[in-house]
């Protein structure tokens, strides 16, 4: 799956979980940019990402992320590892 494909799926997930149909995510997007992104909706987002891509993310992997770009990279790698 290409980075763009991962990004567009992630966008759908983010819009759903953070209840914002206009939300546009980019590599630099962080929780500060999204009013509804708090610690609780963060967990929901992680679970939704896991479900959408059929991957597992550990707490360490998630807490180490600086921005959405980091998340896209982690997801890309996990999806590729699955396919291998």
């Amino acid at each position: 799956m290409s980075r763009d494909e991962v990004t567009s799926i992630l966008q759908v997930v983010f819009r759903d979980v953070f209840q914002d149909d206009e939300l546009i995510i980019g590599d630099d997007t962080t929780a500060e940019d999204v009013p509804t992104w708090d610690s609780l909706s963060n967990i929901q987002m992680v679970l939704a990402v896991e479900q959408a891509f059929r991957i597992r993310l550990t707490a360490a992997q998630v807490s180490g992320l600086e921005n959405v770009g980091g998340l896209i990279s982690v997801v890309e790698a996990k999806v590729a590892a699955k396919a291998a």
Partner: protein, 640 residues
Amino acid sequence: MSSEILTQLAWLPVGEQFREGCQALRSGQGAFGRELRRIATHALTLPQLQRLAALIDDLQGQGRACDPLTPVKLGLIGDGTLDVLARILRSTGARHGLLIDCVKAAYGQAVQEALSADSAINRAGCQVVFVALDYRSLPLNEPVATGAEAAARVEQSLEIVRSICQGLRAHSSARVVLQTLAPPPEPLFGSLDAMVPGAVANMIGQFNLALVKECEDPAIFLLDTARLAAAVGLANWHAPTQWNMAKLPFALDLAPLYADHVCRLLGAMHGKARRALVLDLDNTLWGGVIGDDGMEGILLGEGDATGEAHLSVQRMALALRSRGIVLAVSSKNNDEIAREPFRQHPEMLLKEEHIAVFRANWDDKASNIRAIAEELALGLDAFVFLDDNPAERAIVRRYLPEVAVPELPEDPALYARTLASAGYFEAVVFSDEDRTRADAYQANAQRTALKQSATNVEDFLAALNMRAKLQPFDAVGRARIAQLVAKSNQFNLTTRRYTEAEVRELEEDPNTFTLQVRLEDRLGDNGMISVAVCRPGAPKTWEIETWLMSCRVLGRGVEKLVLKEMLEEARHAGVETLVGIYRPTERNGMVRDHYEKLGFTFQRDGAEGETYWSLSTATQVEAPWFSVLRPEISEALAAI
């Protein structure tokens, strides 16, 4: 895996047009409860439930009424992160007829909030407080060495619950919901955990047993979360990652199910639980179509997997009936054909007598269910409709949105589980009245059906559409006459017993008046229900030697019909007086005043305690609500 039935709330249709529905509701006007409930009655995702909760906030902000939803102020105190649950209780409540306003206690402050008079929870005037404790915040959260220590930990944990309840009782008038604790799936020893008192699982088990006892208090209600967690799997319920990340005491993807269970209990506490189940027949109660496959062709029990599956649906329906849920049938079938399996199929568990209202016809099911509701005098929101056919389900959902219509999976083996999992019939009390309710509804339904336009007893009798067959004694009726004569004790004026030979003699005696009465009415054929014999006594007098009647038809005026017949025949024979005799026995006290009520005049007391009464045969008696058939005469006419 069929735990998906639970985790996906498989009895709810998938939420189609969710966005459009919400938008339409937001830009609409007037009370929003009905449409909100319809939207909520779908299997919504967690984000959808959250959006719906936000919509409810907006609608209330618009100042619109929430009818017909019942507002409930619910306090939520407990352990761990309960914010998500609190939010979606609002939207899930709509599915159960409630508009829930959830007041949350501060994090980890369950005891403090309960005990403090000016806490948010106690000041909010909650009607119900849900105490969602978690084992990790209680003294029984780690294994201990001895049985004595284990018992102490359990008791300390219960004391915490009790002081919460006392605090809430002292500072508010809220009813309290307590939940059993879901134990962790990780074993300490393994199977031995159940036998070692100090193992956490064991202590939780003891705690849960004692908690159930606390719920015997009428103001305290039980939510069996331990059982729900077991049903989905403790390994699914407890998610270590989520607890570690955010102190979530249960896996977030189970939140919609958990919320539904809380709301169905709250619904039951507010009288919203369903009370009647309407069953389809073909491919629901048996495999196949009775009209096409016939009795030999339908699949029911008998070691056939599909047959066994449908039998399990019947078993569940019977179990529901035994706890007071009323059963009805709505089937697209010819009535006689639809009833045949109930009457004749050896594997049928459900019989006609279990069904309060049986409607098999070719009309649409929505109309039939409406008629069933009227006959049972229950609102449409008391009903659940079970039908394997998605088209029928869609129609009933469309025209009768108040009726609960569960989605069913493809495999009939899962029908019973899906129906049960929906929790439509949740109850918070089980009384003797519940046990006998189904029978009471049955009897009532029949009476109501007949009383629909009746304003007085005569109209009621007329509506029974009674058709009486009057004949003298004959060979065909002999056995039944002999039986009635031998066995009637209560409505029997003289308790004169005849042998069958004597009955035969009476058939042939031209000087005796004999009468057998058969009665059919709207409810069915009652068969032979009355017998009378009159013999000449003094000149121009007939003595009523025998007059008996089945108690099944008391209060219908059959006595008047019989008397009318006697008088007509007597006049015809030139008789001027009818003499009635009452011989009292231990069993026939009910007819002591029978002749007086019919207008006879008391004549004298007899030597053995009997009484004699007389009536002029000129007396006119009316029995207008019977239509009378005299087969003897019609046969004679037919022979001409």
